[in-house]
């Protein structure tokens, strides 16, 4: 008899979950399209939404329309690449946040917990302050940031990888130690530089900004994002098991050390690329995963896709805020993620607790 009860609960649950999940993904995809449209339309020169798509469509299939070259320029050269970059960075950071929280089994983890952003900052500030990598031209800062991120990755990996295994605790501690050291190095370079502008430039870079994005910035992040999230999705079951515990994962047939190493490298690569193009935009990677789990539960096969879409939408809107709220002055997008994300997260936590209490009573 009791078997029948659970039978019904189970038969209903996956169907309901699948329907709910499908509906959520559908809504988010529609939301993402609407968000991209709105974000391209909004600006000092507002454009109607249909005009945005007419211009994009005409650019793809060819053809002319009754819009000015200036309007086409605003859509195609200024706003669209920036909006797309925001979407990719938001998606990437959210996916990495989800992964990191499972890999180190710590809800406080974010993409930067392993020192990647500090490494990137050192790289970027070295380029800005010391003039390294001048041969790379406009890409010098990104290249420096990526090199710094990979340096941090290498240090953390070597420190955490003791005795053939990687423990979550060692990863976090190695990441923290590396973070502090590299942040100190960044401060040292900034403070001892004769260039007074450097402090402001460094600050802006460290807080993260999507300003000035162009099509040439999009290729590498797009490729890495597609590849990275694809591979993460393939490991979703392993992420579930790792979240329960290393011994449990091992007894469920997961090669724990090998999987953790792969996930760590994948997450670091994704973070490194995102940080290189936009600076260390905070909070997306911490908050989006939690909000997503509140919506769809803990199973990573649901969490990852929803986080990718949610992160993209979130960062596009935050970037709209960054360019519009104090226009014509532009804020670093990281300032807004913190100012909006923090209170919103507190609100989510508060309501979540109420709901939990209700469901228990």
């Amino acid at each position: 008899m009791s078997g029948e009860v659970v039978g019904r609960a189970l038969d209903r649950a996956p169907a309901a979950a699948r329907l709910g999940f499908g509906a959520i993904v559908g809504l988010l995809v529609a939301g993402l399209l609407a968000t991209v449209t709105a974000a391209v339309a909004i600006g000092p020169v507002p454009l109607p939404a249909h005009r945005v798509w007419q211009i994009i469509f005409a650019q793809i299939v060819g053809g002319e329309g009754d819009w000015s070259a200036a309007q086409a320029n605003i859509v195609l050269m200024l706003r669209l690449p920036r909006v797309l970059l925001a979407a990719m960075v938001g998606a990437g950071l959210a996916a990495v946040g989800v992964t990191m929280q499972a890999v180190v089994r710590n809800p406080m983890a974010d993409p930067y917990i392993l020192g990647i952003s500090s490494g990137a900052s050192v790289g970027a500030v070295s380029v800005l302050g010391l003039g390294w990598l001048a041969f790379a031209g406009v890409f010098a800062v990104s290249l420096g940031a990526f090199a710094g991120a990979m340096l941090a990755l290498l240090i953390v990996y070597l420190v955490a990888h003791a005795g053939g295994t990687i423990s979550p605790l060692r990863l976090v501690l190695a990441g923290m130690a590396c973070s502090y050291t590299l942040s100190g190095l960044t401060s040292l370079i900034v403070l001892t530089s004769p260039d007074r502008e450097l402090a402001r430039q460094a600050m802006e870079w460290i807080l993260g900004s999507l300003a000035g994005a162009s099509w040439s910035d999009l290729g590498v992040p797009a490729a890495v994002l597609a590849l990275g999230t694809g591979l993460l999705l393939l490991r979703a079951r392993a992420l579930n098991a790792l979240m329960v515990g290393d011994e449990t994962a091992a007894t469920l047939g997961i090669e724990v050390t090998q999987v953790r190493r792969t996930l760590f490298l994948l997450a670091s690569l994704l973070t490194g690329v995102m940080v290189a193009v936009s600076g260390a935009i905070g909070f997306v990677g911490l908050v989006i995963p939690h909000i997503v789990r509140m919506l769809v539960g803990t199973d990573h096969r649901r969490v990852l896709p929803v986080a990718v879409l949610g992160g993209a939408i979130f960062l596009i809107w935050v970037d709209v805020g960054a360019r519009m709220l104090f226009a014509p002055v532009e804020l670093p997008v990281g300032v807004i993620t913190a100012l909006i994300g923090g209170p919103f997260f507190v609100y989510m936590l508060a309501t979540q607790r109420v709901r939990r209490k209700e469901s228990l009573s």
Binding site: G3, V5, R237
Partner: protein
């Protein structure tokens, strides 16, 4: 299918946690691993479920070296209920039990009706049938233990390793769980604290002291007054229970 340890040793900083342990599980038997705290029960089990790699000796699952198998293959034949403090997460009971199907799934292979049927029957076996959609974190210790048992059953293996499976359980569920293990007829190795429970349900016992096997055999052969006094440091009166098992009454020395 049987699991066997031959001369398995594991030491930490020169101190032997387990010292040349040899034991073999016979097909279908319920083997109890007993011994006082720190005698190496959990460490021995860990070498058998691929968490502590033995520094000496070999663990065999049938004819293969367990530690040379891919983790996934091992997990298709060997299920474990370990004593692990779990991270904070919001999985449902059904999701936890479904994880038992992990070793049978390729990356991104969806769950089938068969998987869901297995999860259902596993939950029903441990008396948690109505709890599938509950959040695992909100369960009591005993309920959690039964869910983990259901996950091990969902793995569909011939061999089962249990580390103190009756910890945190009320007496009723202790008996139910031991009865379930017995009834399933899987080849089972369980570390057990409670000697009376071990005597009542296990076909054979292996007793560890300081990482070494000091006795192996039928419960009444292993649990003698003399040996318990030596190994556990307590006096014991041994009688027969109404159901015909040996019963132990412990007394301070």
């Amino acid at each position: 299918m049987t699991l066997a340890a031959q001369d398995v040793s594991y030491a930490v900083e020169g101190r032997a946690l387990i010292d040349r342990v040899t034991l073999e599980l016979r097909p279908g038997e319920f083997l109890g691993l007993v011994g006082p705290n720190g005698s190496g029960k959990s460490s021995l089990l860990r070498t058998l479920y691929r968490v502590l790699k033995p520094q000496g000796g070999v663990v065999r699952l049938d004819r293969s070296d367990l530690w040379a198998l891919p983790a996934r293959h091992a997990a298709q034949r060997l299920a474990v209920v370990a004593q692990e403090r779990m991270g904070e997460f919001d999985f449902t009971v059904a999701e936890i039990v479904m994880m038992g199907r992990t070793p049978h799934k390729r990356d991104f292979e969806p769950e089938t009706d068969e998987d869901r049927r297995i999860v259902r029957t596993s939950l029903a076996e441990v008396g948690m049938a109505g709890m599938a959609e509950r959040a695992f974190m909100t369960l009591s210790g005993g309920e959690k233990q039964r869910v983990l048992m259901a996950r091990a059953l969902a793995q569909g293996t011939d061999v089962l390793i249990l580390d103190e499976p009756t910890n945190h359980l009320d007496i009723r569920y202790q008996l139910e769980l031991m009865g379930l293990v017995k009834r399933l007829g899987l080849t089972t190795l369980a570390a057990l604290h409670d000697l009376n429970l071990a005597a009542q349900y296990c076909d054979r016992l292996v007793m560890l002291e300081a990482g070494k096997v000091v006795a192996a055999g039928a419960p009444q052969e292993v649990l003698t007054a003399e040996r318990i006094r030596e190994v556990y440091g307590v006096d014991v009166r041994i009688g027969r229970t109404a159901s015909g098992h040996i019963g132990l009454e412990f007394l301070p020395l």
